[in-house]
């Protein structure tokens, strides 16, 4: 350290006043960011990484306040600065990229105008040149045809494009410090790669400093010079990216490293070394209506959606000339099969049709064409509306992506697990149902005393367990896992993935694992299907697809996964 750091956070403690008293979100944190440095703040949810950066910009919400310590930015004491001084600093000297790009943009204002607004706010250009300047900035964030996109509304742009516009907004006034709070969460891996490379390149070009807040240690190690690891509001490790990634010194960092799915690690290796082996008793694998051959065969499955806005007026009056129906094929004639006891991964980026496929197999929506043969019976012929109350419903269940969204906020955990049993199960009587719930809770390793809590009283991992218990409550043959760990921290993800594997082995179920994360799919699946724009581009055994991919697209997906390379 030769010069004074650009941002110097010393002994920072942030408190939030809640109804249960004062909670310390961040305790005695020291972080210094030098000029031109890229620093990653890594931690799991609740570690205080976002709060630290909000405190640095002094944008904590009303309940929060800086209790102790100091924040100095280019020699200015952020704690003492007046609100109007801070307003001038924010945006011009330090700016921020938020997690959800769509929420960060005004939905009813053209993106170009939004950039102009920022420029005007900080008097960065003459009124006559504002539009040209905005177009120039759009060009810098590699938005194709910037002159046209200037007039686009946020909803007309893809998630990656929106994030580029947000970056353009953040960089419009050439700030000295950029804080990126989970800038690529929710974006596809290939988009993540381009967005991250753009951020790194632009900031390096301009000699800016960057704080990258992320839960992904791999991402931080790939793009940052230095990494600060936070746990429960404290900094546990702070060192050069290479050191943290290759030789972590703190047990928490080691645990985080271990839990991150990576090539070469088995499912078991994600858990901490001292984790007890699960004592789940293996049950007899179920063989309901034993039928030889694959459990599920999907043949030439097609789902078409009408294109939006196609002669809506004509439909209203019902007398438009019959034109060729404008349809969009979300799923375009795909065929695959799943054997008993097999896990198949369905991988692709957002919009590739993987979720549409799984909801059709789930019989929540009707397919346009094609057959879904389950256990030798064409369930695709049964309309989705009728399927809910048929006995076949029991045989296919699902674990949803967002454990919070998929639990009724007004049902206790026990009631949520009991729901399928009450509707479709053959267990009758209060006590018998309760006993079954407790049995299931034990199976998914959910403490019994949590059964009477409501979802908001449970942690993310506990909610995920409730969702899994509900899915296996009826001993299904096929469980569709729709990104079951996407909303969870890596250490919780590791535990949940192991749990899923154990359950599969003990209950003899088959899994259709829908995910965008190839590293996670590799751990759990025997076979992988890669989808792109409604078609299957490659399918085969996991090892073959991941280590010797035949399709270009698969290769592209694999290289987009952030891998820090410190060999250079």
């Amino acid at each position: 350290m030769t010069a004074l750091p650009l941002l110097d956070i010393r002994d920072l403690t942030v408190e939030f006043s809640t109804r249960r008293g004062t909670v310390r979100a961040v305790e005695h944190v020291d972080i210094a960011i030098g000029k031109g440095e890229t620093v990653g703040i890594v931690g799991e949810s609740g570690s205080g990484k976002s709060v630290t950066s909000y405190a640095a910009m002094r944008i904590l919400d009303r309940a929060g306040r800086i209790a102790e310590g100091s924040v100095t930015f280019t020699g200015i004491d952020v704690r003492k600065a007046s609100e109007s001084d801070m307003r001038a600093l924010r945006g011009r000297e330090m700016s921020m990229i938020f997690q959800n790009p769509r929420a960060a943009l005004n939905p009813i204002r053209k993106v170009g105008r939004q950039i102009v607004d920022v420029l005007r706010q900080h008097a960065q250009a003459d009124a006559s040149q504002l539009a040209d300047k905005a177009i120039e900035i759009l060009e810098q964030v590699r938005i194709a045809r910037p002159r046209e996109r200037y007039h686009a509304y946020p909803f007309e742009l893809s998630g990656g494009m929106c994030q580029r516009v947000v970056i353009a907004l953040a960089l419009a006034c050439r700030p000295q410090l950029l804080i990126a709070d989970e800038p690529t969460t929710g974006l596809d891996v290939t988009t993540q790669k381009t967005v991250m490379e753009l951020i790194v390149e632009l900031t390096r070009q301009r000699g800016m400093s960057t704080i990258l807040i992320t839960h992904d240690l791999g991402l931080a190690a790939t793009y940052c010079d230095r990494i600060v690891v936070m746990e429960k509001g404290r900094v546990v490790e702070s060192d050069a990216a290479k050191t943290v990634f290759t030789a972590p010194s703190h047990p928490y960092t080691r645990k985080l490293m271990r839990a991150t799915p990576r090539p070469g690690a088995t499912l078991r290796e994600l858990l901490p070394e001292d984790a007890p082996l699960s004592a789940a008793a293996p049950a007899a694998p179920n063989r309901n209506g034993s039928h030889d051959g694959p459990l599920l065969v999907v043949e030439k499955l097609v789902k078409e959606y009408p294109r939006k806005g196609s002669n809506a007026l004509g439909k209203l009056f019902g007398r438009s000339p019959p034109t060729e129906p404008e349809t969009f094929r979300a799923v375009d004639g795909i065929s695959f099969s799943i054997n008993r006891g097999e896990s198949v991964g369905l991988v692709g980026e957002s919009g590739c049709g993987k979720s549409t496929t799984s909801t059709m197999v789930m019989r929540l929506i009707d397919q346009t064409d094609g057959a879904i043969v389950f256990n030798g019976e064409d369930i695709g012929a049964i309309p989705a509306k009728q399927f809910a109350r048929l006995p076949q419903r029991k045989r296919i269940q699902m674990v949803f992506q967002d454990p919070t969204d998929s639990l009724n906020p007004r049902f206790t955990a026990a009631r949520a697990i009991a729901d399928p049993i009450l509707r479709l199960g053959d267990i009758k009587g209060r006590n018998a149902v309760r006993a079954r719930c407790e049995d299931l809770a034990r199976r998914v390793e959910l403490p019994i005393d949590l059964l009477d809590r409501f979802p908001h009283q449970l942690s993310g991992g506990q909610k995920a367990r409730v969702g899994i218990a509900r899915a296996i409550a009826l001993d299904p043959d096929l469980v569709i896992l729709d990104e079951p760990t996407a909303a969870l921290d890596v250490s919780v993800q590791a535990v949940v993935l192991n749990l899923l594997q154990e359950l599969k082995e003990s209950l003899g179920m088959s899994y259709l694992f829908v995910s965008h994360d190839l590293n996670v799919v590799r751990l759990l699946c025997d076979r992988v299907i890669v989808m792109q724009s409604g078609r299957i581009v490659e399918q085969g055994p996991t090892e073959q697809v991941l280590f010797a991919p035949a399709a270009d697209y698969t290769r592209e997906l694999l290289t987009a996964i952030p891998h820090p390379s410190f060999h250079a």
Binding site: R389, R393, K394, M398, Q401, S406, N408, D419
Partner: protein
């Protein structure tokens, strides 16, 4: 209040009554106005429940010798043109006015709430029909519509309730529709379908309980309007008939005497009406703050 503060380990998961008290205390600490409105509500409720048994004089007994007396120690709110005690009449009227309001709000919740939830959940034709019914009702000036309904159906308490309910229908249908609509695609609704729940069960067992807090707020907010509506109908002679004690009629009775200086006959029932409407509106605002802090102003 300090005796409610418990050791921390117990405070983590308080049970039953203690939890409710703690929650109420927390809520009221930042909402003094809501506490005031709640106290007022308890007072109104007491007047409605035990009022007729504790009032000093028979609200219907006339005493022409003591007609048009100003407020005094024996007649707190004075007497009207027939010598009836205004205080007794105001208190006794609470029961009828509150009953009309509660009944009509309950009715409109059943009609509008359920229709709205169904419209939001099923969409399509259900949505269109419910939407058009609501639009049709809103196309009329609401009080004129209520007048028309009572005039057509007959001048009874039931019909006032029905008219008030119909007039409030669009409010309920729209709120319920919007709330059900955003929950239609929620994960827990899909999960309920996978668990073998039919549409009706999803609607009543899963979606409705989730939008109840918002509906309760809506009910409290429309309660004041319902009271005003019922009194208004009686005021123009389309409602409860004299000599029944009812705020609207009493204001109408007293209006003629305002010019000659006997202000108390109309003033006190009018004030009671104002306090009741005020109370329910404040209560509704407070409840909304508690249920949905984001919409707080």
């Amino acid at each position: 209040m300090s005796e409610l503060i418990l050791p921390k380990d117990i405070a983590q998961r308080p049970s039953g009554l203690v939890a409710m008290l703690q929650h109420a205390r927390y809520v009221l600490r930042d909402n003094v106005v809501t506490g005031f409105a709640f106290a007022l509500f308890v007072l109104i409720l007491l007047a409605a429940l035990i009022g007729p048994y504790v009032v000093p004089l028979d609200p219907l007994a006339s005493d022409t010798a003591a007609a048009l007396k100003p407020p005094s120690a024996s007649h707190w709110f004075g007497t009207d043109q027939l010598g009836r005690d205004v205080f007794s009449r105001v208190i006794v009227a609470t029961r009828l006015d509150l009953f009309i309001a509660v009944a009509s709000v309950a009715l409109v919740f059943l009609m509008g709430g359920l229709a709205g939830v169904a419209a939001g959940y099923f969409g399509g034709w259900t949505d269109r029909i419910v939407g058009r019914i609501a639009d049709t009702i809103m196309a009329f000036p609401l009080f004129v519509l209520a007048m028309g309904i009572v005039a057509a159906l007959g001048n009874t308490v039931q019909n006032i309730i029905i008219a008030t309910a119909i007039v409030n229908f669009p409010l309920y249908a729209r709120v319920a529709r919007a709330e059900a609509n955003v929950r239609r695609e929620a994960g827990f609704v899909l999960a309920a379908r996978l668990s073998g729940n039919g549409d009706m069960r999803i609607l009543l067992g899963h979606i409705l309980p989730n939008i109840m807090p918002i509906m309760v707020v809506q009910m409290s907010l429309t309660m004041g309007y319902a009271i005003l509506n019922a009194a208004g109908l009686s005021f123009i002679g389309l409602g409860v008939r004299p000599p029944t004690a009812e705020w609207g009629i009493m204001v109408a009775d007293g209006a003629a005497f305002m010019v000659s200086g006997e202000w108390w006959i109309a003033f006190f029932p009018g004030a009671a009406l104002m306090v009741a409407v005020f109370c329910f509106n404040l209560l509704g605002d407070g409840l909304r703050d508690i249920v949905d802090p984001q919409r707080r102003t």
